[in-house]
Amino acid sequence: DTAVSQTPKYLVTQMGNDKSIKCEQNLGHDTMYWYKQDSKKFLKIMFSYNNKELIINETVPNRFSPKSPDKAHLNLHINSLELGDSAVYFCASSPFDRNTEAFFGQGTRLTVV
């Protein structure tokens, strides 16, 4: 049973396209996140949702729009893709409490050509 699952694992698309990445967790957690890992392996948070409510938005271009239909799902939609959006995107989840760790999905490698 995969705790945090993302689809697709790989995504290759052309500049200007719109694409979505889906994330689901079966851990019963309240909080979900999107992190971006750039080509130098640096990881940075993009968004966080708690019970479908946006609680963290880290200066991300508004071409990126997260959507949480329920607390087990957090999808990431990206409009007008640019070359610089190429990265690995990780979904994660955790209980709404600092005394816990985040559980990560396997990542989605997005390549914009």
Binding site: F42, L43, A92, G105
Partner: protein, 114 residues
Amino acid sequence: AQSVTQPDIHITVSEGASLELRCNYSYGATPYLFWYVQSPGQGLQLLLKYFSGDTLVQGIKGFEAEFKRSQSSFNLRKPSVHWSDAAEYFCAVVASGTASKLTFGTGTRLQVTL
């Protein structure tokens, strides 16, 4: 603002040798600290965490880390490295606030020679 520094970008050790990966943090309050490992093409797996209490914490795969408040450090150690330990290792701190927003270091790539 909180930050995490991993001064070693790349470390190479021989199989069976001991390992220490360095991590320094900057955070105003009591930090919650983590080490994650990322194998090639894989997601992030938690190795260990420190929230409070005993400053020497044990993790999975034979790893341990020691929290030293005076040095603002949380170094990761393993007494005998296996070839399968080759991976990218990330130290992270939870920032203040009500959500577990992780701030990561830049990572250390571990190469293991046979």
